[in-house]
Symmetry: C2
Subunit: 205 residues, 2 copies
């Protein structure tokens, strides 16, 4: 099935905004990347801000579909599922097309003070993805750290915060190698919380 | 001593760029915030890009001076110094003026693909601050985790990545409370790496 006009514009918006940021992206850039006219654009979106909100929701749908069908869900142990999810995030950085870039994180940085509706759409995207990890983390917590002073929701959101921060440092000249190193610290933390490795960092997670 | 014209412009740039982002910031906005004319601006800076690079270096100098003179350096134990540094970062989020905003992180998100000289200046700022933590982390590692499979440099940069990510999530609707929660996860990780708390998260770091 060929994508419809609206989807073509949204796919183009993901690519252009992830590369240039929101403010530097012109409606003309998105139209050129999508191969549509400005008339077609404004048939679907009232403004660049409306596009950005729809793009954040589109980002959630695209990435959500990818992670929902990933292999790690088939693992029997919840700790294994969480660690395999983190391995997948590492593999995406090592082999991805835009390896250290999140539409929602980039948009939120630029818009939090000036365009709250866009920042809120970014928050829905980030919290929604974090939410997809909560059941596994809650199961792992119940089995291995029932008295922990953190909640499953808090650790799920923390995984996303570290991923966002790894991307920022990668963009500030650290590159993919620094992003991988930061995600390995995150995996080590999670492995320690669930007793998979000892407290002094001995053994690879 | 009253700040000179160049410093007034740089101070204004920090405030305006941290709030609006780089692309949305106009030279006029910075001039208005600094109380200088456009003529005065272009006497000091050739372009908005030149301003952003100088602003990143100014940010390093201002924040570097603050952290260099902070109380935690007086603690005898390197693990205590690192944990107290993280407590200070938490206190800054809880009580700061722009509590979850880093000039370098914001600029890097926007400019990494389009203005490499700006992104590189951001990297100097982030890596420079991380570097100020390396001696303490190396001493703590030697004392408590000499066989760890991570370097002091890597953990120092990781602290900055988590801080950056905590700010992104805060901006995406999580607010200061979510930033504090993420910094507490970071502190718990560091405390576990140095054996201050057990592997299952028991006990507050």
């Amino acid at each position: 099935m060929r994508p419809d006009g609206r989807t073509k514009i949204l796919d183009a918006a993901l690519s252009v905004i992830r590369t240039k940021g929101f403010e530097a992206t012109r409606v003309e850039d998105v139209c050129a990347a999508a191969g549509v006219s400005k008339g077609a654009f404004f048939h679907h979106f009232d403004s660049k801000e409306a596009l950005a909100i729809a793009a954040a929701d589109h980002w959630s749908a695209v990435t959500g579909g990818f992670f929902e069908t990933a292999d790690f869900h088939a693992l029997a142990d919840p700790v294994d599922r969480i660690l395999a999810y983190l391995d997948l995030r590492i593999a995406l950085v090592e082999g991805g097309e835009l390896p250290f870039s999140c539409l929602a994180g980039t948009l939120a940085q630029e818009t939090f003070a000036t365009r709250p509706a866009v920042a809120e759409a970014c928050g829905r995207s980030i919290r929604g993805h974090a939410g997809s990890l909560v059941a596994d983390i809650a199961a792992a917590r119940a089995a291995h750290a029932p008295d922990a002073d953190w909640t499953a929701e808090s650790l799920a959101l923390h995984t996303q915060a570290v991923i966002q921060g790894a991307f920022v440092v990668a963009k500030a000249g650290g590159g993919a190698a620094s992003a991988v190193e930061n995600l390995r610290h995150l995996k080590r933390y999670v492995a320690m919380l669930f007793g998979r490795i000892g407290p002094t960092g001995g053994g690879k997670p």
